[in-house]
């Protein structure tokens, strides 16, 4: 039974929402959905095509795999090559190109690279392989960071000495702020990422909405959820209102998940972080707090910063900030395809380039 999925894919409800949005909109508006999962739903269900021409959807930086800096991929590759290390990661990370190599090719050459569904699974690997060092490549937004924090805390609880984490977590609100600080930005309203808000709640978005006088609507992932988010956002814009509204109330409470937030505060601290293609954003990442520094793989293995190279052809930065659509990239679908990606947005199932390739293939 797919309760809460089928219902929110209901065709009649989709039609009702589209009709209502058409009746509300009076001028051009550009909305940015933050999350790559939403980008995928939009492409998969052809939602842009259902909407009136006045509304254009642009795609935001919400693909953690895509924004992981090359430097961290290179560090993961370096760790994966060491004979004493088992590098554990989410499957999406394996094909993201580093400067010279991706993790999959390290694996093909005999590197011990393992994929897991849950960070907790990495602890079991560490327990079963006491002679090896197990490093978990921790990637993801506020949605994923608590699960990694939980694994780190459990590692301490189980006194596992051979477990550490390469931390590459990123935070959404500082990225929204960076996009809005760019005076050239075209964004009239945001669809905020529902699953990030399930953890963090809506508090952090209120000052952003008021400072930049913009509507931010917490939005889910099914077609009905996304159209409901668009509907609320367009309503606010037409009524010249800014602020934060919730179109995903079944899963997101205004306060979020306080226990998970508490765990994040215990295990992590905010750090500056470079986003692939975008550059450094102050306070936009997580690093380990003093109490958990011994689990920091960068310190444990004394990894050095190395000069990194972005593939020249890839315009991931413009894609991730919504300035260009994937089909405007000259390499799209020719030199860059999911089988042979030049940049991360073509690799990850949540990257905008991969979404366009999969569901659209031709020009916009």
């Amino acid at each position: 039974m797919l309760k809460h999925i089928d219902e929110y894919r209901d065709k009649a409800l989709v039609e009702t929402l589209v009709r209502t949005i058409k009746a509300t909109v009076s001028r051009k508006w550009t909305l940015m959905e933050i999350c790559g999962g939403q980008t995928h739903s939009i492409m998969r269900y052809g939602l842009q095509e259902l909407l009136p021409n006045e509304i254009s959807l642009i795609h935001g930086p919400g693909c953690p795999v895509c924004v992981t800096p090359v430097e961290l991929i290179d560090r993961a590759v370096e760790l994966g090559r060491r004979p004493e290390v088992i590098l554990v990661s989410f499957g999406d990370m394996l094909r993201v190109p580093g400067s010279h190599e991706d993790l999959l090719s390290v694996k093909a050459k005999g590197g011990a690279i393992r994929m897991v569904y849950a960070p907790l699974d990495a602890l079991d690997i560490a327990e079963r392989n006491p002679e090896k060092e197990v490093v978990f490549f921790g990637v993801g937004f506020e949605t994923t960071a608590p699960a990694v924090a939980l694994a780190i805390k459990q590692a301490r609880h189980r006194a596992l000495e051979n477990f550490s984490v390469l931390v590459s977590h990123v935070l959404v609100p500082p990225a929204i702020q960076a996009l809005l600080e760019d005076r050239q930005n075209q964004i009239d309203g945001f669809l905020a990422a529902g699953h990030v808000c399930a953890i963090m709640g809506t508090q952090e978005y209120i000052p952003l909405a008021s400072k930049y006088k913009i509507p931010i609507v917490v939005t889910g992932f099914e077609p009905v959820d996304i159209l409901l988010g668009i509907h609320k956002c367009i309503n606010m814009l037409e009524q010249k209102r800014s602020g934060v509204e919730n179109a995903y109330a079944r899963s997101v409470r205004p306060e979020g998940n306080p226990a998970a937030q508490e765990l994040l505060r215990e295990v992590f601290v905010r750090v500056d972080r470079k986003w692939r293609g975008i550059g450094a954003i102050p306070g936009s990442g997580l690093g380990l707090s003093d109490a958990y520094l011994k689990y920091d793989a960068t310190l444990k293995f004394k990894l050095q910063s190395v000069g990194t190279e972005e593939p020249e052809l890839c315009m991931a930065g413009e894609i991730l900030t919504g300035r260009k659509k994937p089909s405007q990239c000259p390499a799209f679908g020719t030199r860059c395809k999911p089988e042979k990606p030049l940049g991360a947005p073509m690799v990850s199932t949540e990257g905008a380039c991969s979404a366009y390739y999969r569901y659209k293939k031709q020009t916009p």
Binding site: G37, F141, T144, N257
Partner: protein, 80 residues
Amino acid sequence: MCLAVPGKILSIDLSKPELKMARVQFGEAIREICIQWVDGVEIGDYILAHVGTALSKIDEADALFTLDALREMGAPELDP
């Protein structure tokens, strides 16, 4: 990456206080999910799960309320 899916709680294991777990059904598949951070979940409740952890409990009343409100919106006066 932030993909999270609704699942139904089949059983709850409270034997480890620092790691409350549940068996959760997602369509055909059943997985062990950590429910440490979601308060007051019971067998039969739906949770939203992501990389082995429950992000939040799905509020059935809200889920139905939204659907009902949308069906209302589809009422004849809105038809073109």
